[in-house]
Symmetry: none
Subunit: 232 residues, 2 copies
Amino acid sequence: MTEEMKDAKARVLLVDDEPDILEIVGYNLKNEGYQVFTAENGEEALKIAKKKKPDLIILDVMMPVMDGIEACEKMRKTPELDGTVITFLTARGEDYSMIAGFDVGADDYITKPVKPRVLVSKVKSLLRRRENVTPEASNILKLGDLVIDRDQYKIIYKKEEMILPRKEFELLSLLTTKPGKVFKREEILDVVWGNEVIVGGRTIDVHIRKLREKLGDDSFKTVKGVGYKYVK
Amino acid sequence: MTEEMKDAKARVLLVDDEPDILEIVGYNLKNEGYQVFTAENGEEALKIAKKKKPDLIILDVMMPVMDGIEACEKMRKTPELDGTVITFLTARGEDYSMIAGFDVGADDYITKPVKPRVLVSKVKSLLRRRENVTPEASNILKLGDLVIDRDQYKIIYKKEEMILPRKEFELLSLLTTKPGKVFKREEILDVVWGNEVIVGGRTIDVHIRKLREKLGDDSFKTVKGVGYKYVK
DNA sequence: ACATTGAGTTAACCTAAAGCTAACATGGAT
DNA sequence: ATCCATGTTAGCTTTAGGTTAACTCAATGT
């Protein structure tokens, strides 16, 4: 059911530690037809955000466990939340938190106390902005007999549709962004695994091997001492 | 900037047997500044395409006289339409026609019913992609009949592509940064091997020899007691 | 001319990097 | 909890690349 409805209306994640705020703001947003999720602190928010991938996140600044600033910072580093609009909820006069907010990548801020009508129109305008910024670009890449559909996380290879495990897909995805270019191991780790994660030295190889198994040996060339590249 | 200009000039051929579709999609594209041509079947499309050489062709799959698949296949075999982007229009859920589409060389597909905004942004992105293909972001150095591609870690010498082992490549890379300049042995060791590593006195020579073997003796001049230089 | 010195050449040797495989770990679904 | 798919690791093998040593050759200076 939700599946069917999902692109009908935007998804909004509302984060505040005061139940009253969640109640009243949530009510207003639902009234406008938005699909509303709520969280009571930054940590929870982050978890729900990753899961629900909302279009807009309204973040209170002052919260226990993890405050809005920190949460926002983390969200901005989360690839899945790439196009997501984030706005802060801040008490009037808390100028410093507004500045800190923009600093960590927020798109806007809303001052408390919130007037419902102001809130709703702000939300509308923010979501409109998102649409202009993120024109649904085609995420399909065609390379000979390989088609990579980044939206659907699937590929078509020699007329056969198949889905790859996440890491394999991301690795392939990276290599094919610039066919021919040699990606250094370091580069690959950065993009596919992220800066913080440390994995063993043979991990990339194993995934390359799996890709070779599935997509043909000769598409993936090793450049010893440097890295790998996708060709043809 | 140039993007605007090129987009404004882009030519789009729209092919569908339903006049309504031609009407509404055409309207939206014209609104965006595209120059729009239309055809009502594959045969007509092919004729117009050859004549007008559009940058983008939007092809309905199901059409009388000649369907989109067949038309696309023919277009791909037409040299004049070499850089042309082709996208299919297909009813949602017709996955098979999508695969067939890629099979005959389509670049993307758009599902019906089409939302104008989606359509327009997709068109933009497709045309953008086309432009991005042309100006290859290059780390490429050309020196007479030698081309050094630092991205791909490969060289082209006398029209022949070859990959060099890492040290050789880096040595060559260094020498060619300043053709004619004599690099002292010490300098070479610093750059190619790094400050800490200590290697024997004949190591550089050996690599120079290998380069001479592969790229011709006379490109690498020895300056006795000093070092080496690359000359065209 | 001969000695001296730096460079060229070759092949043997060494080593770091990648290939491979199987085992183990993890996390999501049922 | 159990299962399955994905992801990571460890450890071994293989290979390509890199270095060295020993010898030869060429140039230079006395």
